[in-house]
Assembly symmetry: C2
Amino acid sequence: MSSLLEQITEIARAARQASRALAGVNSEVKNQTLKAMAEALNASGKVILAENAKDLEAGKKKGLSAAMLDRLTLNPDRIQAMAQGLSEVAALPDPVGEVTSMWPRPNGLLIGRVRIPLGVIGIIYEARPNVTVDAAGLCLKSGNAVILRGGSEAISSNLCLGKILAEVAGKQGLPRAAIQVISFTDREAVDHLLDQEEFIDLIIPRGGEELIRRVVLRSKIPVIKHYKGVCHVYVHADADLDKAYRISMNAKVQRPGVCNAMETLLVDQAIAPRFLPEMARRFQEAKVELRGCENSRELCPAMKPATEADWYAEYLDLILAVRVVDGLESAIAHIQKYGSDHTEAIVTENYSAARKFVQEVNSSSVMVNASTRFSDGFQYGLGAEIGISTTRLHAYGPMGLTELCTTKFVVYGDGQVREK
Amino acid sequence: MSSLLEQITEIARAARQASRALAGVNSEVKNQTLKAMAEALNASGKVILAENAKDLEAGKKKGLSAAMLDRLTLNPDRIQAMAQGLSEVAALPDPVGEVTSMWPRPNGLLIGRVRIPLGVIGIIYEARPNVTVDAAGLCLKSGNAVILRGGSEAISSNLCLGKILAEVAGKQGLPRAAIQVISFTDREAVDHLLDQEEFIDLIIPRGGEELIRRVVLRSKIPVIKHYKGVCHVYVHADADLDKAYRISMNAKVQRPGVCNAMETLLVDQAIAPRFLPEMARRFQEAKVELRGCENSRELCPAMKPATEADWYAEYLDLILAVRVVDGLESAIAHIQKYGSDHTEAIVTENYSAARKFVQEVNSSSVMVNASTRFSDGFQYGLGAEIGISTTRLHAYGPMGLTELCTTKFVVYGDGQVREK
C-alpha cells in the first residue's frame, strides 16, 4: 500500500493528465456531458439520499449544530437544484478558445490572445455537498480538471456525487480523472494536496475565515481567497432619503449571514439628523442591534456604544456598526482603514461625489445607489460564480467562468525573423 | 536602532501608503514625472558613473566574470538609453481607469470593469542597474509603488539611480516612497521582504533560475515567474523549406543567450531527408553544436548523440538539440513533455496542421511561420515588458503595463435593492 502522500500525488498527476485532454474538448461535448450529469443526479436520488443519511447520522452523533446539519442535508428539492445548476452551466457560453483581442504588427505578424483553461483547480470546502456539483460543473465547462476536498462531515455525500459525475464524464468519452473527490478525511491529505504545485494550478478555498487562513498559510500553490466581507454603505450629504433607507435596510437585513451584507453604515454628518433617527427606528423594528459612534448615539441614544473592534467586525448577523463621518474624504478614509476590499456603496444624488467615490475606492466592487447584496456573479450577469476574490492578483471580485481561464498569445506569421 | 525586519516592514508599509496616493494620480502628472526623471538621469551622468565605478571596482576585487562586469557597467550611452526608456513609457497609453467592459442588467443596474493598479510590486533582480530604472518607470506609469532589491554587486549604482528617481517623484508632488531601493545587501533582507504579504501585492524576480527558485520557495507573496525557456521549432512535413531554414537559424543564432531562443528543433520525418542535412550544414557554418536523436544522426552523422537531458536543456548558447518526430501528434507530445510553456513555433504551409498546433499547444506563446525570438512585449506591441510569465495565473506570456493592473467592478444604480 502506498503512502498518503503518494496517493495524493497520484490524484494530482492524473488530474494534470486529464486537464491536457479536457483543454481540447469542444463545447458541444462539454455541454452534453453537463446535461447528462444533471440527468444522472436526478436519476440517482435514492443513492444520494442514502449516502447523505450516513453523513447526517454521523453528524448528529458528533453533535453538529442544527445550522451545520441543515447545510449538510440533501433532499429531492436540493438534488433537483444541483441538477438544474448543471443545466444552466451547460447553457452558458464557453470561455475557452475565445480570441479576446488580435492586432497586426508593422512587420506583418498577426498577434492574438486566446482564452485557455488554467489547468487543474483544487477546491477545498466545508460541509455543503452542493459545492461538489457546482464546482465540478464550472471547472468542466471551463476545460479545467478539478480535485474536490470537502469537509469530513460530508464525505459520503461528496464521494457519491463525485462518483456519479466522473462516471458520466467517462461515458461521454472524457477522462474520469477530470473530476476527483478526495476520500481521505485526514487534515494531512489537505497538506499533501497543497504541496502539489507541479500538478495543480490554483486552489480555491470556500468556507470560513479559519479554513481559508489555514490553506493560505500552508499552500505552495496560488490561492484565490477572500477572508471576509466588511461591506460599507455611505449615506452622502446629498443622498435621496428614500433610496438611503431602502438600500441600507436591504444591505443589512435581506440576508445578513453572507459576505456581501453591510456590516458598517457610514452617515454624513450633514444628513445624519434627518436620516439616522428614522433609519435607526426602522432597523430596530427589524431587530437589528445597532452599535454607534458617539455622534450617532447623540442622535439615537438607544444605540450601544461601538468600540474600535466593531469597525473591523464581520458580524454575519443582525448587528450593525454605525458611524457619523464629516464628509466624503472621511468616509473613504474609514473604508480604506477598516474595509476588507469586498464591496462598498455610496448613496448620493451628487454627480461629483459619486464620481470621486467610484474613482478613489478600490475595493473589488464599488457601487452607487445600489445594495451591496448585488455583489455576486449571478447578479452581475457572469452566469455563474465560483467564489469572490478580495486580493488583486488574477481575479478581483466575483469570479465567473472566464476567471477560471488565462490567455495565451498566438502569432501568425509568413516567415518573419527578427533582425535585432 | 530598529531591527532589519522592522526596517524592511517600514519600507513595505510606506510603499503601501504611497500606492494609495499613486492610484489616483492622473496620466498627465505621471507622464510629466517620467519625462522629468529622464531629464534628471541625463543631467546626473557624473554622479551615476562615479557610483557605478565603486561597484565596478568592488566587482573586480571580488573577481566577477567579464560578462558580469559588462552587465554591471554603465556609460553615457547606457544612461541615455535608460532615460530614453522612461520617455517611451511616458508616451504609452495609461492602463489605469480604462473601462474594459460595461453592460446593463435587466433590473437597470449598469455593471462595468475598470482597470486599477495592483498596488505594491517588489522586484528582485541581479546585476543589471538598468532594471532599476525600467521597472520603476513601468510601475509608476501603471500607478503601482515599487520596492527594488537589486544584487549586492550593483548596490551603489542602484541606490544612486533610485535616489534620483524618488527625488523627481517628490518634486512632482508624488510620494517619494513610490520608488524605494533597498539598501541592505544581506540575503535576510530579501527574506523579510518576501514576508510582507500585508503590504506587497506581487513579487517579480528577474534573473537566473536559481534566484527565481529561491524567491518562489520563500515568498508568502504571489510570485510571477518563468524558470526557463525551452523553446521549440517544429518543421512540419508541409513546411516551406526556405522559411524553415530562415526561422530555425534566426531562432537559434540571432541571440542565443535569451529565453526566447530555440533550444530544440523538431523535424517531421517526412521532410527530414530534404531539410535536415542542409540545415545542419548551415548550423555548422554558424558554429552551432548539434545534438541529435538516432534518426537525425543517420541523416547527419556529424551530430553528437543527444541524451534524455538534452530535451530538457536550456542551453542559452550555440548548442541545439535535434529530434526527428513521426508527425504532428508526436511533436505536440514532445513539447508537452519536455517544454517549459514559453514559446513554440510550427513551420508549415498546411492550414489544418497550423490550426491543430495553435489549438493544442498551450504554451504562453504559440507561433506559425515566425521565429520564437518575437516572443517579447515590445515585439508584440505591448509597448513595454516587465517580464515573461510561464505560469498561468494572472499573466501568461510577455507582461506589459496592463498585467501590472487588475480590474474592479463598478455598479451604477438608481436605488436598486435585492429581492431574493
